[in-house]
């Protein structure tokens, strides 16, 4: 009789053992982390909305969250309003891999853009590639360019000095410039500028485009920072809207699938790139939607906490806070006595009425 190839499998390879028999909040899909973080490693973050959760938790957990553009000298209110510290630099949400790579090429290689400022309805100007980070806007296109030049200096430090670069891939749908192919985080006209069919176009990136762009970015990053380790995640937050003529749920599945495959390809190609399955933790059937807010889109804090527990357990040597054998034995011995303590309802009644 031939050997069954699954016989030597590990528990985590079997759904029944790894999921069905585990409480939802204890399912931990990380199996072979490629590297270990220390509290002194400079951890930089970028990506979509979900990456903001990771950024916030990193600092709270005592990691060295690397923020070259932290708004030193500003009041806490101004820092918050200006989105300082949301990511390692004020690039705002980088939803697509193409957005990330174009920022990298601009910061590290001086690649220029055709559109450099959008005017808002209030007359102020914004940066087309991060239109919401400065709510007050700028007085002129020149001011936008000046602020961007300063910003790019910080971005260079992010790419060149980070020990760990955490990037959360958000989606595949984007609005681009027909003139130079530049990708905008928001459609022209949403937070500034105006949509012009002759100059702007919608594009939904394919798996080949996304995979190639991610490989290109990682190659470039290694050139400027050979020791950097990259941790890729896919945002579990569904698309808020799709421009494709189909149901937003179907478009969400397409986007996330492309990103997940691209992340895996990058991970498989390099020992310095790892994939952290926060997407699986939040969206997987074990949790059955318990990690989403009422809108079934935003991730709630207990979901983020689950992902970060798994992150700390996998990428640090600090353990996961679970009971060791001695403690389990002690608690087990005490259980019988504690469980047999007779309910004190009568005593409760007496104490309440006395």
């Amino acid at each position: 009789m031939a050997d069954n190839p699954y016989e030597s499998g590990q528990d985590y390879q079997f759904w029944r053992r790894a999921v069905s028999r585990t409480e939802a909040h204890l399912v931990d899909p990380v199996t072979h982390p490629k590297f270990t973080l220390t509290r002194t490693d400079r951890i930089a973050t970028a990506g979509s909305c979900f990456a903001q959760h990771i950024s916030r938790r990193l600092g709270a957990l005592g990691f060295n969250y690397f923020v070259p553009e932290g708004g030193e000298g500003l009041t806490p209110e101004d820092r918050q309003r200006g989105q300082y510290g949301v990511f390692s630099a004020r690039y705002g949400n980088l939803y697509t891999v193409h957005q990330l790579n174009q920022l990298f090429r601009e910061a590290m290689h001086g690649e220029g853009r055709h559109e450099t400022a959008w005017q808002r309805e209030d007359g102020r100007f914004v940066d087309p590639y991060r239109p919401t980070v400065a709510p007050e806007g700028y007085a002129s296109p020149g001011d936008v360019a000046e602020a961007r030049a300063e910003h790019l200096g910080h971005v260079r430090r992010v790419f060149a000095e980070a020990d760990i670069f955490v990037f959360t891939l958000g989606l595949t749908e984007a609005w681009r410039s027909r003139e130079d192919g530049a990708v905008f985080p928001l459609a022209p006209g949403v937070a500034g500028g105006g949509f012009d069919e002759a100059r702007h176009t919608f594009h939904n990136f394919t798996i080949d485009e996304t995979r190639a762009e991610l490989a290109s970015f990682l190659d470039g990053l290694r050139e400027v920072n050979p020791e950097v380790r990259v941790l890729l995640t896919v945002s579990p937050v569904p698309l808020i809207a799709t421009f494709e003529d189909r149901h937003v749920l179907v478009s969400t599945t397409y986007s996330k699938s492309v990103l997940r495959v691209a992340a895996q390809a990058a991970c498989d190609a390099s020992d310095m790139v790892d994939y952290f399955p926060s997407y699986e933790i939040i969206t997987g059937s074990p949790t059955g939607g318990m990690y989403f807010e009422e809108d079934s889109r935003e991730v709630n804090s207990i979901g983020v906490a689950h992902a970060m527990r798994s992150f700390v357990s996998a990428y640090t040597d600090e353990g996961d806070g679970r009971a060791d054998m001695a403690l389990r034995r002690e608690e087990s011995e005490a259980y019988g006595e504690a469980a047999s303590i007779v309910c004190d309802e009568e005593e409760v009644d007496r104490s309440v009425s006395s």
């Binding site: 059955g288 804090s301 309440v352």
Partner: protein
């Protein structure tokens, strides 16, 4: 008949003999388990004695709802202990006995037929409430407050250490919980609970995971929400040799009127649930803040000399960890 043949016959008989024959055989010294008999509606009632803790009324309601032909006599452990003779009389008079392990031991010791006993362990789970302890007076009776016999270990140990109310409240933090191993309580509490029910022949593992997905399912360490008791009652009902009907209606939750300890947010988050610091006293629909709770407890503890009370379900190792936590923290 050879010994081996006798065993094989008895083995078969255990599965098929009606109760009357089994009883007759038993009188002749043979240990025979009667085959489960399903009674139809209109038949003679199947009498059930149920003795459990304060979950007893909910269990009784669930059993009666699921099994229309049973007649349940139900009271709690305390009553059974207080009147052991009546307990034994009830054991003898009922067809099925649903008992906690301690009551089972007491009944069997006094000659009650073990074969009609269905074990029902007490439900005790500290995963959401690792801070909860019991306190005993020197005479071994419980120290009670508006929350019955439940106390906060941090609150009590702080009082014993001479801390003030504000300092005590400041100790309800993730850091202190970590030092006191509160975050590992889920794992140990789950294992102990599931083992207790598995050992009793009513495994609750799959439903435990379902309860946990819906958030905190405990009012206190031994007061589960009624839907938990409903699920367990269904398992117990399946062991009764009577007709059952499939009823999924929710069960009222009398334990919700009792004290309710919050699952602290830090603990809750680690256990996939939502938490708070609002405490609900027994028999009244109002909430206390953490400061109000600590103040009330301090008043109670101040009535006793320092060191006079005894912590139950607690280890000295945790007391030492607590003392290390506060050492130097408050300038003392």
């Amino acid at each position: 008949m050879s010994g081996g043949m006798r065993e094989r016959v008895l083995h078969v008989a255990r599965g098929i003999l009606p109760g009357s024959v089994a009883r007759r055989l038993r009188r002749h010294g043979q240990s025979v388990r009667s085959a489960p008999q399903r009674r139809r509606s209109g038949d003679e009632s199947h009498n059930v004695l149920l003795v459990s803790n304060c979950a007893t009324p909910v269990y009784a309601k669930v059993l009666e709802r699921l099994c229309p032909t049973i007649r349940v006599t139900a009271y709690d452990d305390r009553s059974a202990m207080a009147n052991h003779a009546q307990f034994l009389k009830d054991c003898a008079a009922n067809d099925s006995l649903i008992l906690s392990p301690l009551r089972r031991d007491a009944a069997v010791k006094d000659g009650i037929d073990e074969t009609k006993i269905i074990l029902l362990p007490p439900f005790y789970f500290t995963g959401y409430h690792p801070d909860t302890v019991y306190l005993a007076k020197p005479d071994k009776t419980s120290v009670t407050t508006r929350f019955g016999a439940y106390h906060s270990s941090i609150c009590y140990l702080s009082h014993q250490a001479g801390l003030g109310i504000a300092d005590t409240v400041s100790l309800y933090t993730e850091e202190v919980y970590r030092e006191l191993d509160f975050f590992s309580a889920w794992q140990t509490g789950r294992d102990n609970l599931l083992n207790a029910f598995s050992d009793a022949g009513i495994p609750i593992d799959p439903m435990f995971r379902r309860w946990a997905r819906q958030g905190c399912f405990m009012h206190t360490v031994n007061h589960p929400h009624s839907h938990v008791l409903g699920d367990i009652g269904r398992l117990v009902a399946a062991k009764l040799p009577v007709e059952r009907r499939d009823v999924g209606l929710p069960v009222t939750d009398p334990l919700a009127n009792g004290p309710s300890f919050p699952c602290y947010p830090e603990i809750a988050e680690a256990n996939g649930a939502w938490g708070s610091y609002y405490f609900k006293p027994a028999q009244i629909d109002e909430l206390m803040t953490l400061t109000e709770f600590v103040t009330m407890c301090f008043e109670t503890y101040s009535a006793f000399p320092k060191g006079a009370l005894i912590l139950r379900n607690w280890s000295q190792r945790k007391t030492r960890a607590f003392e290390a936590c506060i050492s130097g923290r408050f300038g003392g």
